[in-house]
């Protein structure tokens, strides 16, 4: 037993001398000094030793233990100091890298508009993208052969009705939803209608056969032109800043009368004139007007009692202006290099 204690002590000191780091030191502690360590074993076994020898061996073991512990502590302090020096952390290193998902910029601009109008109490409306000729044109004061249909080159869908006529179109505008909403909810009505639209035209940097619009309508008992103007001014200021001004001029849209184009102060040059606004200081952004009585009638609303206003934006154009995107084809182009910027 005596030898055994001495052996442990010697072996411990020998091992201790070889220790290079705190990990090895911890292992050593575990092996010799812990509750289940070799020395504890000895101490534990003392109870089986003869009473006469027990005292001497006990003292010996205690002395050995104290020595071992103090030598251990010494090294532990040294190592800790040493470690502190080595465990320098470069806090400027980059954080863990994450992949991100990105929303299409059309979604971002659409959300922005939906939020503005929701806060004004507008409901968000939607309707079918594959629409009937009736809702896309006739109900909007464009009966068959109406010259205004010229303005829109329409995709017709190859499925004839019972009269053997093509009467299905890929909607050329979000306006058919106006009439559907009027029929469903009646007046008064405030709605914002975003959505995908289609025109049969060749694509280039400025033209797309698939594009996105958002339009708003408001039907109530005394809606007038001054209301329309003020609502459009508000939208302009929300979208392009508080100093944005509105300029309106006549423009034919068969579903409104009077019909207008609205231009806003160019937000890039603050109206001074730049390349984007073609040096006019104004950006043509919105089409608007007072809802044509025939359209109200299509919607089942009496134009003698109610009147309405309507306005529409091109979401692609808004996004292009906002982010400086120079090619409309990028929105549907499926290129991650484009999407990951948003």
């Amino acid at each position: 037993m005596k030898n055994k204690i001495e052996e442990i002590r010697t072996e411990f000191l020998k091992q201790l001398a070889k220790i290079k780091n705190s990990e090895q030191l911890r292992d050593l502690e575990l092996r010799y000094l812990s509750r289940k360590g070799e020395l504890s074993d000895i101490m534990h076994n003392l109870k089986d030793v003869e009473a006469s020898l027990r005292k001497e061996l006990g003292e010996l073991a205690n002395t050995a233990k104290q020595e071992m512990q103090s030598k251990f502590k010494e090294l532990q302090v040294v190592l800790e100091k040493h470690n502190k020096k080595n465990e320098f952390i470069d806090v400027t290193l980059p954080g863990e890298k994450f992949i991100n998902g990105h929303l299409n910029p059309i979604t971002l601009v659409q959300n922005e508009l939906e939020d503005i109008f929701s806060s004004l109490g507008f409901m968000i409306g939607d309707g079918p993208e594959l629409e009937s000729d009736y809702y896309n044109f006739t109900a909007l004061n464009m009966p068959p052969q109406h010259p205004a249909r010229d303005m829109q080159d329409t995709f017709y869908v190859d499925l004839k009705n019972k009269d053997n006529q093509y009467d299905l179109v890929m909607r050329t505008q979000t306006s058919p939803v106006q009439v559907r909403l009027m029929q469903k909810y009646g007046a008064p009505l405030k709605a914002l209608i975003p959505g995908r639209c289609f025109r049969n035209e060749a694509t280039d940097a400025r033209h797309e056969h698939t594009f996105y619009q958002v339009e708003g309508i408001m039907v109530a008992k005394e809606i007038n032109f001054a209301n329309l103007k003020s609502l459009l001014e508000l939208v302009g200021q929300k979208l392009f800043g508080p100093n944005t001004k509105l300029r309106m001029r006549p423009k034919l849209f068969p579903f409104v009368e009077p019909g207008n184009n609205g231009e806003y102060t160019c937000f890039l040059c603050q109206g001074k004139g730049c390349r984007v606004c073609k040096y006019t200081g104004w950006l043509e952004i919105v089409g608007a007007g007072l809802i044509h009585p025939d359209v109200l009638r299509s919607g089942g609303i009496d134009p003698e009692v109610y009147s309405g206003l309507a306005f529409g934006f091109g979401l692609n154009r808004l996004a292009m202006l906002k982010y400086g995107i120079n090619d409309i084809r990028l929105f549907n182009g499926g290129d991650l290099n484009f999407l990951e910027q948003f």
Binding site: Q145, P147, D150, V157, D158, E201
Partner: protein
């Protein structure tokens, strides 16, 4: 459309203080957008008058000569090929740096070894005629060294009008119409068109008339006026006529034709001159099936009953309202003409013009419904002007005027109080009256606040029909900028909440922010080739009738094809990519949305889908996407639900039959998840493993909206006991089956979670080991160890018997 300022000035006196820029802005703000202003002199920038001093042979080319030309400042050596070049001539010289109307830029050059510093121009090169037989020789008014534009008196300014937006205003497709607007906008006097006309013309009486006109269907042609004129000589138009046409980018042809165009651009009424030799009869009729006509553009047009033609009693000589026939065209030998001034039915002209892809200045006007009273003014204007050009002309017919329809004078009652209410501010009564009068409306005051407004004939065809139209007239001339904006006042009300839109937005946010997928917007159209590569049968897919050439024409029934293309486009970009799209798809079967109020037919069925796609080399991609779908549904519905993945018997052509599942939640099937199979992958050249989920948005929305709020479940008071069990069983036994068996075995088994799957050397080849965490818990007591042991033992026995499984230690 181009409008000449000089031409406008013939009808409206524009004071000096109003600049051309102000006119452009005025028109834009009140009538129609002026897209551009072109100062005519700019067209001839760097083109000057030169005198040919000497002409020498070109040393190296027989057909070329070398001229010395004096342009006052200096003398230029110019190589020229024109045969008519001669000493002493005054000629237009394009200097180095000039850009000719055709786009040719003049540069210092060497032609067959001879230096040439400029170009002596022919008429066509200057865009002022078609002559190319030789250089243009100027008359003695030309000043050597002076600007060629001065010689041409090209002081005009041309306004470019956005005529796309004029579909309701055929009256504005003319100089007179624009002049009338300028008069109203700037409060200027406009000369009445009637004052230009001299109607004292001696027509033959109908007995002696050499011409007879018949209209077969009155509906097709509202009015047909014609006159035969002889004693004519076809020649170049006089300068005043040519200049006007050149100014608005029209090429002069000959005097008789140019004058028809002149009158059209002046007043808006298209005219046509037939070569009249032998032409005694005119019949306005529909074409017969397969009847053909060679039009003036030398194209053979095959016609049918939907096309309106002018015939000479036998065969067609013109496509009514669109283009004349070659057979009746004016040629050098023409001595007499039949002048047509007619009013054809707009829709007929429009249809034929669209069908044939043949648009002309005439058809552009006819298809917008012209004023029937214009035919008369235009006819007299033509005769008046022609007698200036051809003083020897003789009228050799009666004045033929087949007037089928008499327009009734329409009037609309305009209530001024209504007008103020509509605009939102008071417009002074005198102001409204003045504006309407200046636009040609006649006003009768019925009461102090009610006006009976008579619509002028040129606005009555389709344009002005209701009081709202009058409101616009008053408002636009009054000025939008004078209206003080005022927010609508209304009773507060809660808007209808569009739940679907909110859900869609939530899904987009979760997929992009949480699962790091990027949002694609793909076209609604797919291509045959694309679908074939994916082995998709598209026989029942809807198609476009009139697709763009080279563009996909099939309406998508799934988001998958384009999402796969998205992977292909981006696969080289990074190790792992993932996208999503939310979009509509279209089916042939009828859906539930009506086509119209009084129409029982419904639109084809359409639904919104959510597509998710992942691509990488990772082997567990299928499981990853199942995890995303499961979690997405938990995010959207609640965290207690369990998404089931069921075997599918329905395999799209692109899917790996061994790796496809149906998604089911709360007993509702919502979509599928599948791995793209090797064949499709090869066909598309995919470089990565690709897995796709497609979820029916509408079904998901319906499910979510049908659920009530998940109530709080009281937190368990008594601890759960967790036991791990691993069963070794045949590899073909599905997880779903064994899990269901465990779940329903005892109500105290609260959750069953798979935590390990083992296949390998420690068990047999056709076996797998599934290890589960089982959690047992009671609501009313702490479970005792023996209680748990009894359940577990029974469970092991049950599973072992049911699946021929054994427990793995």
């Amino acid at each position: 459309m181009y409008i000449s300022l000089n031409w406008l000035k013939e009808f409206v006196k524009i004071p000096q203080k109003i600049s051309v820029n102000e006119i452009a802005v005025g028109l834009t703000q009140h009538t129609v957008e002026v897209e551009g202003l072109a100062h005519q002199a700019d067209k001839f920038k760097n083109i000057v008058v030169g005198r040919v001093l000497e002409v020498n042979k070109h040393p190296n080319a027989d057909r070329l000569r070398v001229a010395m030309v004096d342009i006052k400042k200096n003398k230029l050596k110019i190589v020229c090929g024109a045969p008519n070049l001669a000493e002493g001539q005054l000629v237009p010289v394009a200097l180095v740096g000039a850009i000719l109307p055709g786009g040719l830029e003049i540069k210092e050059s060497e032609i067959r070894g001879e230096k040439s510093s400029g170009m002596i121009c022919a008429e066509d090169e200057l865009g002022i005629g078609k002559g190319h037989e030789g250089i243009l020789v100027l008359n003695n008014n030309a000043v050597v060294g002076g600007a060629f534009s001065k010689y041409l008196k090209a002081s005009d300014v041309i306004l470019e009008i956005d005529n796309k937006s004029l579909s309701n205003r055929p009256d504005l497709l003319s100089h007179y119409g624009i002049a009338r607007e300028i008069g109203a906008i700037f409060d200027l006097t406009v000369k009445p068109y009637e004052k230009l006309l001299n109607k004292k013309i001696e027509f033959l009486n109908s007995k002696d008339s050499e011409l007879e006109v018949k209209i077969e269907d009155k509906e097709d042609c509202a009015r047909y006026m014609a006159v035969k004129i002889s004693g004519l000589e076809v020649k170049e138009s006089p300068d005043w006529l040519k200049e006007k046409l050149i100014a608005i980018n029209q090429k002069p042809i000959n005097n008789l034709v140019d004058l028809t165009n002149y009158v059209m651009f002046e007043c808006g009424q298209p005219l046509h001159a037939f070569s009249a030799d032998g032409l005694k009869k005119i019949v306005v009729r529909r074409a017969q099936k397969n009847e053909s006509l060679e039009t003036l553009d030398e194209k053979e047009r095959v016609l049918d009953e939907s096309d309106l033609v002018i015939s000479d009693g036998q065969s067609p000589i013109a496509l009514a309202g669109i283009m004349g026939g070659k057979n009746s065209g004016i040629n050098e030998a023409t001595k007499s003409i039949v002048l047509e001034s007619a009013n054809f039915k707009a829709t007929l002209i429009r249809k034929t013009s669209q069908k044939l892809g043949l648009r002309s200045e005439a058809s552009a006007r006819f298809e917008k419904s012209l004023d029937q009273s214009l035919t008369e003014s235009a006819l007299f204007r033509y005769i008046n002007l022609l007698s200036k050009i051809c003083p020897a002309l003789k009228i050799s017919s009666s004045l033929i005027d087949v007037q089928q329809v008499v327009l009734s004078d329409k009037s609309i009652v305009l209530d001024l109080d209504w007008l103020d209410k509509k605009i939102g501010q008071e417009i002074p009564k005198e102001e409204s009256i003045k504006i309407l009068k200046s636009l040609g409306f006649k006003i009768e005051e019925q009461t102090a606040r009610q006006l009976a407004v008579m619509i002028p004939s040129w606005r009555a065809t389709k344009d002005i029909t209701a009081r709202e139209d009058l409101a616009e007239e008053v408002l636009r001339i009054y000025g939008y900028d004078k209206i003080i904006s005022r927010m609508p006042s209304e009773t507060l009300s809660l808007p209808e909440i569009n739940q679907e839109r909110m859900l869609e937005r939530k899904i987009k946010n979760i997929l992009s922010l949480k699962y790091c997928l990027s949002e694609m917007y793909n076209y609604s159209f797919v291509g045959e080739e694309q679908l074939k590569k994916l082995n998709i049968d598209f026989s029942n897919y809807l198609k476009l009738v009139n697709p763009l050439s080279g563009i996909q024409n099939i309406l998508r029934q799934s988001l998958v094809p384009h999402l796969i293309s998205n992977i292909k486009t981006n696969q080289a970009k990074s190790e792992k990519i993932g996208f999503f799209e939310i979009g509509d798809v279209f089916f042939g079967a009828p859906g539930s949305i009506k086509k119209g109020v009084n129409n029982e037919e419904t639109l084809p069925y359409q639904e919104k889908k959510i597509g998710l796609i992942l691509a990488s080399e990772e082997t567990d991609l299928f499981i990853q996407l199942k995890g995303i779908v499961d979690n997405l549904l938990k995010n959207l519905i609640n965290y207690e639900i369990q998404t089931e993945f069921l075997l599918s018997n329905d395999f799209p052509g692109w899917a790996d039959k061994n790796q496809i599942v149906k998604i089911r939640v709360l007993n509702k099937e919502l979509g599928t998840i599948a791995v793209v199979n090797g064949e499709a992958s090869n066909n598309i050249s995919l470089k990565k493993k690709v897995v796709i989920a497609e979820i029916n948005f509408n079904a998901l929305a319906e499910l979510i909206f049908s659920l009530t709020v998940t109530r709080f479940r009281e937190i368990e008071k008594y601890p759960a006991v967790v036991r791990d069990l691993a069963f070794v069983l045949n590899e073909k036994i599905l997880y779903n089956e064994i899990r269901n068996e465990i779940v329903k075995f005892n109500p105290l088994i609260r959750s069953v979670e798979l935590f390990d799957i083992y296949v390998g050397s420690q068990i047999n080849d056709n076996e797998k080991s599934l290890a589960f965490h089982l959690s047992l818990q009671a609501e009313d007591r702490t479970l005792t160890a023996s209680e748990v042991e009894i359940i577990i033992t029974a469970l092991i026995k049950h599973i072992s018997e049911r699946f021929e499984a054994r427990i793995r230690n």
